[in-house]
């Protein structure tokens, strides 16, 4: 079985690189983007199964990225991973089709489970 392909989108470079490496060690295939525009560009070529997305980023914010990702490919699962989120953000993200909503910093086991569940369609 092909490993789940995950696009990680976060402007905190050190955070997203360390997390990508940890997910790779756990058998996931990863690619990183450091802002919304870059994420949408990578999305076309990389064709991920899931996107792990921060909400508060300079430029295009996470909710806008979510909206556009779902417009480009509604099949892609999006999991929000944020340290800034409010209940209102969580509700909007869910309405826009997010499959999961995690608070930063989250346990690596929880992140992997949430991504795997999203990829296998259980989170819907």
């Amino acid at each position: 079985m092909e490993p789940c392909k995950v696009l990680l989108v976060d402007d905190e470079v050190e955070f997203v690189l360390a997390l990508a490496e940890r997910l790779t060690i756990r058998g996931l295939h990863t690619q990183v983007a450091h802002n919304g525009e870059q994420a949408l560009f990578v999305l076309q070529d990389y064709a991920p199964d899931a996107v792990l997305l921060d909400l508060k980023m300079p430029g295009m914010d996470g909710l806008e990225v979510l909206r556009r990702v779902k417009k480009i490919n509604p099949q892609v699962k999006v999991v929000i991973l944020t340290g800034h989120g409010s209940e209102q953000d969580a509700e909007i993200a869910q309405r826009l089709g997010a499959s999961g909503y995690l608070q930063k910093p989250a346990d690596i086991g929880v992140i992997v489970d949430t991504i795997k569940r999203a990829c296998s369609g259980f989170a819907d």
């Binding site: 905190e12 340290g83 910093p105």
Partner: protein, 261 residues
């Protein structure tokens, strides 16, 4: 008292207006007071917004430390069968980093909630959440006085509709007046409960001396306690000092969210 002097100084210049063109109506005073309240609220909200923003940044930093130490742990476990003389010491330090990150995250989360307190001048506040929040934020102050501070949970939902800032300040002042007078080695427990059909915050004390009554007397006559009592009164509450092992803050006139309760 200092507060009284300040109040008089701010009111006396306005007293002339009370019998002036307003026909006995103290409108200018209330307008000025209202403006002062609005200014204070804006200042508090500003202070809160900046602090809340920084707590988010602190959480981002903690997330980087967490993932970096987690990656070190991962790499360490991948090399478990290879010779590395400091494996255990290294592993122990990574565990310490993880624990401290968790501690930092909890503190930043509570500080963030605290910083958001002035967002609404009046809002529903669950007293159980409030006790948890205040104990986490006050623990350090009590610890420096060598006094333990814990909370005990209650299953009942007790929700007041009042000023979050004023309520937290009042309870903090009460706790502070206690640990300032309690001998080293004492312990305090904060608990929300219903008492005489009113919401109540109970502070129970355990002291390593025989005469708890004398300790209570010192607390009840301290300046801090007097300010806490006044502050409680302004919130529609009253401070009870006839509780055998502590004090109670009884909210007799404060609005209660009955639906939540």
């Amino acid at each position: 008292m200092a507060v009284d002097r300040v109040w008089r100084a701010s009111v006396e210049p306005l007293l002339g207006d009370l019998d002036g063109e307003q026909g006995g109506c103290p409108a200018p005073f209330f307008e000025r007071e209202q403006k002062m309240n609005q200014t204070t609220a804006r200042e508090l909200a500003f202070f809160g917004r900046i602090t809340a923003g920084f707590t988010h940044e602190i959480k981002n930093i903690l997330a980087i430390i967490k993932e970096s130490s987690g990656l070190m742990e991962d790499l360490l476990s991948l090399t478990k069968d290879e010779p590395f003389p400091h494996w255990e010491r290294f592993s122990h330090r990574v565990e310490v980093i993880k624990q401290q990150v968790q501690r930092g995250v909890e503190l930043a989360t509570h500080l963030n909630r605290f910083a958001h307190s002035p967002d609404e001048p009046v809002s529903p506040i669950d007293l159980n959440d409030l006790t948890d929040q205040l104990v986490r934020l006050s623990e350090r102050f009590a610890r420096l006085k060598e006094v333990g501070l814990t909370r005990s949970g209650s299953n009942a939902s007790i929700v007041l509709v009042t000023s979050p800032v004023a309520l937290q300040m009042t309870v903090f002042l009460l706790l502070e007046s206690c640990w300032n007078q309690m001998p080293a080695g004492s312990a305090m427990e904060l608990r929300a409960e219903w008492r005489e059909r009113h919401p109540c915050l109970l502070v129970r004390m355990t002291v390593p001396v025989d005469d708890l009554g004398a300790v209570k007397q010192h607390i009840a006559t301290s300046e801090g306690f007097t300010v806490a009592r006044q502050s409680a009164h302004e919130l529609g509450g009253q401070m009870l000092d006839d509780i055998p092992d502590g004090f109670a803050l009884l909210f007799t006139e404060t609005r209660v969210d009955q639906q939540a309760g």
